[in-house]
């Protein structure tokens, strides 16, 4: 059964100061829905606040009265005492909304004095209590930005590597074309830093209908039913493709992505979308708040090991998101070389 009052509720019953205009004749005290109301004339209200010590304030709104000028004063007092203050009108009134907004009342209420009002006081009170205890600086939520130095390094490395390797790349392109039908490159959509989705370029290492066959092969997945899909001695891979993968040469076209600014040399691996969309949740989303890169912490830490769990990989990505800096990147880059040399066919 749905329970309305499952939150721990502050003081009850509420002792509500009911602020009214000069001309309103109303009983000076009344009890309603678990709340005790005491009526106070608006002129006397600011002073009476200290004596009466209410738990909440309701200001009765009536249009066109000069008493509105007093609202600011009452609101300030309420703020000082951390009291919930709500503007109320019998009928819904656009002007009352405007007044409530202008004087920044905690809320505006109209119609019946229902249970909602009591619960509203509770929550506003709760929020004000929180404010009294928590005064931590609020950091602006922002995505990751690639520092200019990193970007310059990326362009320099990617451009020179592409120039130096260009004869080799042309040869690879030719062999791919000759070996099996299909394009030279395999382009897939991947999510990089800030979940920026971009066309991720690799040399094609599989036969053309590889993606369609993935479903049938899912039983051979060496990582179990995890997020990351990798299959041992995958029959979809062409013989030359196997060589490309073994030497990591299939990854080289990513340097074009680096030049474009989609990703960096060092960073978290850009993820295929089916993997990426599993990580848009608390605790792990941080892995996207780091540059995406060709090589990174998890490649260096345990390159090619079958026993790394999804969780370990994600944690390494998050660790990189916390630590990344130019110096850290350089260290990872240097460590990538031995890691690549040790790499076995995976």
């Amino acid at each position: 059964m749905y329970n309305h009052n499952q939150q721990n509720s502050p003081q009850h019953p509420h002792n509500v100061m009911w602020v009214v205009g000069h001309e309103v004749h109303i009983k000076s005290e009344f009890h309603l829905k678990g709340m005790d109301f005491t009526c106070i004339d608006i002129a006397a209200a600011p002073k009476a606040l200290e004596k009466m010590e209410p738990t909440a304030i309701t200001v009765l709104y009536r249009s066109g009265l000069e008493e509105h000028a007093k609202f600011g004063e009452i609101k300030d007092k309420a703020d000082n005492l951390a009291l919930p203050i709500v503007l109320y009108s019998v009928e819904e009134d656009a002007e009352a909304r405007e007044v409530a907004t202008t004087y920044q009342f905690d809320d505006y209420h109209f119609g019946k004095l229902s249970d909602n009002l009591e619960r509203k006081f509770d929550m506003i009170q709760k929020m004000k209590e929180y404010k009294d205890t928590e005064e931590e600086p609020v950091e602006e939520p922002a995505g990751v930005k690639i520092p200019p130095a990193k970007r310059m390094f990326d362009i320099l490395v990617a451009a020179s590597a592409l120039i130096v390797l260009s004869p080799l790349l042309l040869l690879i392109a030719l062999i791919i074309k000759l070996e099996s039908r299909g394009p030279i490159f395999y382009v897939s959509r991947r999510a990089g830093h800030n979940y920026n989705v971009f066309p991720f370029i690799k040399f094609r290492s599989m036969y053309q209908d590889a993606d369609a066959r993935l479903q049938q092969l899912s039983t051979h997945n060496q990582y179990g039913d995890g997020i990351f899909i990798k299959i041992k001695n995958d029959p979809r891979v062409t013989p030359f493709g196997r060589f490309l993968r073994k030497t990591s040469l299939d990854e080289v076209p990513q340097l074009i992505n680096v030049l474009k600014g989609d990703m960096s040399i060092v960073g978290n691996r850009p993820l295929p979308l089916y993997e990426a969309e599993q990580l848009t949740q608390d605790e792990v989303a941080k892995r996207f708040l780091a540059p995406a890169g060709v090589t990174g912490l998890w490649q260096v830490t345990k390159r090619g090991k079958d026993d790394m769990s999804d969780e370990e990989r994600i944690n390494l990505d998050i660790e990189y998101a916390r630590k990344h800096s130019m110096i850290y990147d350089m260290r990872l880059l240097i460590n990538t070389i031995p890691a690549m040399l040790q790499k076995e066919a995976v």
Binding site: D107, M123, V138, L289
Partner: protein, 158 residues
Amino acid sequence: MVYKSALALNRHHQKNDKPIPLNPTKITTMEGAKNTILIVEDDTALCALLTTYLEPVYQVHAVHNSMDAWDWLSAGNFPNLILTDFKMPFVNGMELTENLRTSGLFRDIPIVVLTGSSDPDLEEHAQIWNIERIVAKPFNPEELLETIDQTLNQANHV
């Protein structure tokens, strides 16, 4: 999926001859301008990710708790939609959304709730308080964008 179409952000304007003066953010409801979205999410990384992801399309204001959300709202800001987490410390999404719905100021703002776990209470809560959409975490950001867009369109057409 829970959906309620009875939204009328401009209903109040029609009642009176004199229109309510628009807040700066309210102007964004006009055609061609960006809609404003308030994001309430306590996981700072996810909050940053959502902000960065939605910013090209919407005017985004993001906060990490219900308290800051309410402060921003009662300071006179009026978003076209609120995207809020459900499980949050101190004042959770259940309390926040209930208080939005019982507010004379904010009750018509469409709400999309992001939730980490399937909570039977949430389903019921969503029905009672007319929460437009519930999106489960983890979510596909492209689909979330679509959901937000649809919710805004439905709200604007009533």
